[in-house]
């Protein structure tokens, strides 16, 4: 009993409880609003929109999952198990698509594949002037864009599985006379299964919560529908109901991902590590591999990036590079800096208490902080909006509620890099400092913080990057005069002013690159 009282009294503990509260309250509020909605609204939505939206969302997630599985695993296998010229270059290049926000890729592809666009013109040279290609504003288009943008998740996880795998399993299989292909199928792939599954689950989570691509490609998913309900209706009941469904769906995938990630711990520590042997391919093989990788990286990054550069250099785009443009850059910077700093400050006590005093309460608070994973942008915006307009209307329309939405939404990304940093640090170090006469505060300042600084920086960069790219919550909550780069891209691109959208889009991509480089060596999971 006394320990509980002691815990509750500690200021750190109060801070942690408050943070968990800030995160869970909006979610609870949306749930309550959805559940208390008039059953008529529920049945109307069931009869009209929900089946279509669920089907669209799930089928998009499924097709993207299959494609990213193939792309991710094959590319990972090639760069780890085959030796060809420029291998190390490709190893890094395959991560580049992560620097492209989905809405940027979507808008580039709606130009490329659009009606009367360059690809169609090329095709008409081959197949006659009346020939049509498939429209990017469709299931196929959304699948293509999302798959190109998210396959690096699967690639990265598969690659690290292939690198950390104990090669003796494969060698035993080969020595026992199993063919190379059969070894791949019966030994290597099964060993990689947990990593692949975790990567695919991550992809699905990403697809389910994406707003940018589906809105520009006009593909109706739950996330898009929540946004449309919020902007087209005078009350938020229907939006809450759809949000609740979306949260449920995301939760299923999140749990799946966790489950696979836990299972993947079993084998990775076993055995002695040795670098796998790489097959050396002849010139033809090397050419084929390079062509394959070039096609993927070209479609997912090089081609869109060069189009953005070309558009940015056009006179129309140059004309927009005035003081207003730098205002948007400044807004993006301010918002991302505040959200990242606020996020890290909330992350730190949560992760610290959960690792140093792993009581049920503290672990519960930590888990609560991961709720952001299942709150796609529009839902986070809705939740914060509803909560603030009821409890603290003073802040409505201020920067604060936008930042709260960001923090809730992106906290998991920060926690994922802070949590391991704290866990890797032995509590002995702090204890030694205390026994040598340092006070609690000094121990924190001189021992704990310097030791977790690395994780701290990575968490900050991650949240900065994500806030910078964030679209739906910014659209819904931005105060007057707070248009960001992402907003400009979306506003111009949704009216098909491709050139005008390009400079902002290019800048987002360029700013993402160094952050991406930093994360690849750390925690890329939420990039």
């Amino acid at each position: 009993m006394s320990t509980i009282r002691q815990q509750l009294a500690s200021p750190l503990q109060l801070l942690v409880l408050a943070s968990a509260g800030i995160i869970l309250l909006p979610l609870g509020y949306v749930t309550a609003q959805a559940l208390s909605a008039d059953p008529v609204v529920w049945s109307r939505l069931w009869a009209t929109r929900i089946p279509e939206l669920l089907f669209n969302t799930v089928s998009l997630a499924a097709s993207v999952a299959v494609i990213t599985l193939v792309l991710g695993v094959s590319t990972a296998w090639l760069v780890t198990r085959v030796d060809f010229p420029g291998r190390r270059l490709w190893e890094g290049a395959l991560v580049l698509p992560l620097a492209m926000p989905t809405y940027v890729l979507a808008y580039v592809y709606s130009y490329l594949l659009g009606f009367g666009g360059p690809v169609e013109h090329l095709w008409q040279l081959v197949a006659g002037p009346q020939a049509r290609i498939f429209s990017p504003h469709s299931y196929g288009g959304a699948t293509l864009v999302m798959a190109l943008d998210t396959f690096p998740f699967v690639y990265l996880l598969s690659r690290s599985a292939l690198l950390s795998m104990n090669v003796s399993f494969e060698e035993v299989a080969r020595a026992s006379g199993v063919s190379r292909l059969s070894t791949l199928w019966r030994v290597t792939l099964p060993l990689m299964r947990p990593s692949i599954a975790a990567g695919v689950a991550l992809v699905i989570l990403y697809v389910v919560s994406d707003f940018g691509a589906v809105s520009l490609l006009r593909y109706q998913t739950l996330t898009y529908a929540v946004f449309q309900q919020m902007t087209g209706r005078s009350d938020n009941t229907a939006a809450s109901i759809l949000s609740l469904l979306l949260v449920g769906l995301a939760l299923i995938f999140l749990i799946t991902e966790r489950w696979f990630r836990q299972r993947s711990r079993f084998y990775q520590t076993t055995g002695r590590y040795r670098a796998p042997q790489r097959h050396r391919y002849g010139w033809f093989g090397a050419l084929a591999v390079t062509g394959y990788l070039g096609l993927i990286v070209g479609a997912a990054f090089a081609l869109p990036a060069s189009l953005l550069i070309q558009w940015s250099l056009s006179p129309e785009a140059q004309a927009t590079l005035d003081s207003r443009f730098f205002g948007f850059v400044w807004n993006s910077g301010i918002l991302a800096t505040s959200a990242a700093t606020g996020g890290v400050l909330i992350c730190l006590p949560l992760a610290y208490l959960a690792s140093r005093r792993p009581t049920m309460l503290n672990l519960g608070c930590l888990q609560a902080a991961y709720a952001g994973y299942v709150l796609p942008g529009p839902v986070a915006a809705l939740a914060v909006l509803v909560l603030f307009s009821k409890l603290a209307p003073v802040f409505y329309g201020s920067v604060l509620i936008l930042i709260v939405a960001y923090v809730i939404h992106f906290l998991p990304a920060g926690l994922q890099s802070l949590e391991p940093a704290l866990q890797h640090m032995s509590p002995n170090l702090e204890e030694v400092a205390r026994t040598l006469g340092l006070g609690i505060r000094d121990t924190w300042r001189r021992v704990t913080l310097p030791l977790v600084r690395n994780g701290f920086v990575v968490a900050w960069v991650l949240m900065f990057l994500q806030t910078m790219k964030e679209l739906p919550a910014t659209l819904l909550l931005r105060p007057v005069g707070f248009d960001t780069l992402a907003i400009r891209v979306w506003m111009e691109a949704s009216e098909e002013y491709y050139q005008l959208a390009a400079p902002s889009a290019l800048l987002i991509v360029l700013l993402s690159l160094p952050a991406l480089a930093l994360l690849i060596s750390k925690d890329w999971r939420a990039a």
Binding site: Q228, T231, G232, T337, Y396, G397, V399, E496, K522
Partner: protein, 346 residues
């Protein structure tokens, strides 16, 4: 990642910079300066900014603009209540303005300038909102694919012969909601439902967020027909004079309901602390010069009877408008949305 370890100095600088910013009070909505107006605009930035820039050039009053969805902005005004930073609301839909007025968000105006400039049917009885330009919900067609006599009424577009040949706006569009409201008021719910069902089947996936995309799709021949506000067609033609598209004024046949009209308008937000500057802006917008600028920028019909319509447009006297009063659009909206949802338009 050695450079991460060498970051402490930079890190500290960043942190202290942040602390400064925080204390600078960016979190509190700053009180706008006296000679500055904040406008919530459902009209896109491209179409309103030049007019506002002209106002700033004339008066020296600076303008802060938030462009977003109309309904979204009205929701926002409601939630913000008296604390809203907005001084004026500009939208492209009379129904939204009337809803805002009914919710007590707008300030009634007693200004001779308004009464002299804008005919009574285009403003609220208490002038809480004032129409600025007229727009018509019309059919745009591709001249190489459709003969203009193939379509007489908007309702013809539900005919199965147009399957996969039409493009429509999405169900969140205020224009669609206003248009369907007028059809309901004229023909009743049952006929409207059949119309919407036909429209949904015919359009299938050709449902657009932006009307400019619909015109684009028609111009490229992706679809033969689309429903949009008239000015999108002229705007497209201004950029690409050779595009094979034209405006079809629907429902002009004997006994037809007439073309569906809506107005873009402005209202002063009740809690404004800059009443004088806000009134100056309204005055500017209803005066002849402002009317010409506001309407021409978007190829709309000025409402001031003495201001000439852009010669590129179909002459206003040559067609009839539907008889449903603009203010009625507000009360018609909710049941219209329910009907649209029931049919399951996207």
């Amino acid at each position: 990642m050695s450079f991460v370890y060498s970051l402490p100095a930079l890190h500290r600088t960043i942190l202290s910079g942040l602390v400064l910013l925080f204390t600078a009070g960016i979190f509190v909505p700053s009180a706008p300066a006296a000679d500055k107006l904040t406008i919530y605009s459902g009209r896109s930035e491209r179409l309103i900014k030049p007019v506002l820039d002209a106002f700033t050039a004339n008066t020296g009053i600076q303008i802060e603009l938030l462009s977003s969805g109309t309904t979204e902005l009205v929701n926002r005004l409601k939630s913000e209540g008296d604390r809203t930073p907005a001084d004026l609301l500009i939208t492209n839909d009379a129904g939204s303005l009337e809803l805002a007025r009914a919710a007590g968000l707008l300030h009634p105006l007693n200004m001779r300038e308004i009464e002299r400039a804008i005919p009574a049917q285009f403003r609220a009885p208490d002038n809480a909102w004032v129409g600025l330009s007229g727009r018509f919900w019309i059919v745009v067609y591709n001249r190489t694919m459709v003969q203009p006599d193939q379509v007489k009424s908007l309702l013809d577009l539900a005919d199965p012969k147009w399957k996969d040949k039409i493009a429509i706006p999405n169900s969140g569009s205020e224009y669609l909601q206003a248009g369907v409201s007028v059809i309901r008021a004229t023909y009743g719910d049952e006929k409207t439902r059949q119309f919407l069902q036909g429209l949904k089947t015919n359009a299938d996936s050709q449902v657009y967020q932006k009307s400019s995309q619909i015109v684009d799709a028609v111009a490229k021949g992706q679809v033969a027909l689309g429903i949009v506000n008239h000015y999108y067609v002229y705007r497209h033609l201004a950029a690409q004079p050779d595009a094979p598209i034209a405006v079809l004024m629907p429902d002009q046949q004997e006994g037809g309901m007439g073309a569906i009209m809506n107005v873009a308008g402005v209202g002063i937000v009740k809690s404004t602390k800059h009443m004088d500057s806000a009134k100056l802006l309204v005055e500017f917008l209803v005066a002849q010069a402002g009317q010409k600028l506001f309407a021409d920028l978007d190829k709309e019909y000025p409402l001031h009877p003495d201001v000439k319509t852009d010669p590129a447009l179909v002459e206003r006297k040559s067609f009839r408008a539907a008889l449903v009063p603009l203010a009625k659009l507000a009360e018609l909206r909710e049941p219209t949305i329910a009907l649209i949802e029931e049919v399951g338009l996207r």
